[in-house]
Amino acid sequence: MALIEIAETSKLYGFGDATTLALDEVTLSVEKGEFVAVMGPSGSGKTTLLNLIGLLDQPTHGDYKLDGRLVSRLSSNQQAKLRRDYIGFVFQSFNLLSRLSVIDNVSLPLAYKGMPPVRRAKRASDILELVGMRDREYFMPHQLSSGQAQRAAIARALINKPRIIIADEPTGNLDSHDSKVVMELFAEIHRQGNTIMLVTHNPELTRYANRVLYMYDGMIVGDERTPIGYMAKHARRIYFKKLRTTDDDIAAGVSALLKDVPGQEITTKGQKRKPQGRKRGLKQKVSRSKR
């Protein structure tokens, strides 16, 4: 049984003329222990997909089974508890609470679980040791560098021993050195058997993943297994296919390019590519009227 099972799930935002189809009947299953990198141009639905998996948001249509349990229609309180116990979030902008010290930030999920302060401080210290931040326990977030802040945020995501770690562009605000440190951390977490879903624009980072999802217009258009240590094939091909790249393209990485290469031949194992028929037209009409 897969850890994450999403069946024909759609997500619509807004009403009437302003409706956006952010996810278009997506079907996906992720096994325990997979490190999944999600790529795709901006607006293709990556964040929406991760929010659904992380139970921050509910699908408009379709079912989501987490660890065999149907969770997409639970009450907001039950979902909050599942987020607390099953899921660790790492955000692009770190999202540490600015008024709390590093150790208080890291131990906050345990506080919401009702663990006594002394025990949760001990646990938080241990986790901070793991991410190499033990010596900055009592720093305030504004006293940290970006890399340190993201490591603290990862410690917070790990503290409840979650089943899934969801990282939405975690290196988006980091320089290449800090990115590497953070990605090595994810690699270590993955080696210990954790499941990770990571959104990135950087094809280099697919080296850490053993599976890459390519998204376009709310659909998963490619699903590639890739050995750890190697850049994913399709990501590399698309990246180098374009003759001329601008600085922006390089900064945005392969995801931006994906958008400029319509009909890119992404063959996938197991996953069939969606026929782009009527629904696609609807989506385009919708997004055009939005602009």
């Binding site: 907001s76 508890k81 987020r83 506080a111 919401y112």
Partner: protein
């Protein structure tokens, strides 16, 4: 969890120190005014009842106007009767004095509300004509000079006055102004004696204060007012051993006869006088505290306002907390605790300030406010209730935020 919430609330309130201070100010003002007003009222009640008790049980009071039935309601009793002609006359004083069970009777005959002395005019004064019997009834001795004794002396001696201690200090600077003169309605009076400073005034029921009173012999008062007397009350002291109730009846009969059977006056025993004065003070106090309570409510609305602002400013924080597993309940508690800290803090500071004001009033004024535990408990209770009540809406708003919308918000 609760201690965490508390720490959280304190740190977030510290972040916006000024806003916190001004928010608390509403509650502080409310608590200070309620506690101070009620304690002033309680103090006044005690003062008045202390003086009524000092009168002794054997002093009866005759007032113009009537009190309906057994309820002793103040509504019909003309407490500010010197604004309207009194129904009592000097003849009533004489007929009460002549009753066999009565030892002494003394009128309080209002003459004027201003007097002029060496150091200028004194507007806040109560000039009354009375008879020497008053001193015994009030148990007063002269602090300086002496109190006039006999009404049937020469005219020269009739133009004498006994003044309260406030008048002495304000009009003459010197503590002993005996022998100086004081002008009342253009006529000069020689100061004959000064009363000792008193804690307050029996006469406060009529709106006057013994310390700022000037007493002149009744005959002089008659001269000044062209025989238009305005008797606010008559004190009647019964002889030792005389039955109080039959004395009341005797007075009622005597006065009623000379009023052609019209019952346009009231005879009050000491305890009835107490009840009436308590009721008067109570009415004024509760009216004032009602106004002060509005300040408390306004303070509560201020808290709601600030919490609402705080909730929208911290949308992102709420989003993060929810993402890492805070339930709606836990977010709700966080903001409720913040509201409670504001109200509890405001109440504590308010009570501290009220205590300080109390002390200052006791030290530097003639007021004697009394802070009682029940009133503190009541005030704190009300402000806590207001705090919780007005925190609920913002806290609910925070708790119900959708996590992704909140995360997106800044």
């Amino acid at each position: 969890m609760w201690s965490g919430n508390l720490r959280n609330a304190l740190s977030s309130l510290r972040q916006s120190r000024w806003r916190t201070t001004f928010t608390m100010l509403g509650i502080i003002i409310g608590v200070v005014s309620v506690v101070t007003i009620v304690s002033l009222g309680d103090g006044l009640k005690r003062q008045v009842s202390g003086q009524i008790n000092q009168l002794g049980k054997n002093v009866l009071t005759v007032r113009p106007g009537t009190i309906d039935g057994k309820h002793k309601s103040i509504s019909n009793l003309n407490l500010y009767s010197y604004l309207a002609p009194s129904t009592l006359s000097l003849q009533d004083v004489a007929s009460i004095q002549n009753l066999p069970s009565i030892q002494a009777a003394a009128p309080i005959d209002f003459v004027s509300a201003s007097a002029t002395g060496d150091d200028g005019q004194f507007g806040d004064v109560f000039v009354a004509g009375t008879s020497p019997g008053l001193w015994d009834i009030l148990h007063e001795r002269a602090a300086y000079g002496s109190l006039f004794a006999d009404d049937s002396s020469t005219d020269q001696q009739n133009n004498i006055a006994v003044i309260g201690s406030d008048i002495a200090t304000k009009l003459y600077s010197a503590l002993n102004p005996v022998g100086n003169s004081i002008k009342i309605n253009g006529q000069s009076f020689t100061i004959y004696g000064v009363l000792p400073a008193s804690a307050g005034s029996l006469l406060s029921v009529t709106g006057a204060d013994l310390n700022s009173s000037v007493f002149i012999p009744e005959s002089a008062a008659q001269n000044l007012t062209n025989n238009h007397s305005n008797i606010l009350q008559i004190f009647a002291q019964t002889k030792p051993g005389a039955n109080l109730d039959s004395s009341v009846k005797a007075i009622q009969q005597a006065v009623s006869t000379s009023h052609n059977g019209v019952n346009d006056f009231t005879v009050l025993k000491q305890n009835e006088l107490l009840a009436v004065s308590d009721q008067l003070v109570g009415t004024v106090t509760s009216f004032m505290s009602g106004i002060a309570a509005i300040a408390l409510v306004v303070g509560g609305i201020g808290i709601m306002n600030i919490l609402l602002v705080s909730v929208s400013e911290r949308t992102r924080e709420i989003g993060i907390r929810k993402a890492i597993g805070a339930t709606n309940r836990q977010i709700l508690n966080q903001f409720l605790v913040e509201g409670l800290v504001l109200t509890v803090g405001g109440s504590v500071i308010g009570i501290g300030l009220a205590m300080l004001i109390n002390l200052l009033l006791r030290l530097y004024s003639s007021w004697r406010p009394v802070v009682s535990l029940p009133i503190i408990i009541l005030t704190v209770g009300i402000s806590l209730a207001a705090g919780v009540l007005f925190s609920i809406a913002p806290a609910l708003k925070a708790a119900r935020k959708n996590p992704i919308d909140a995360l997106r918000g800044e």
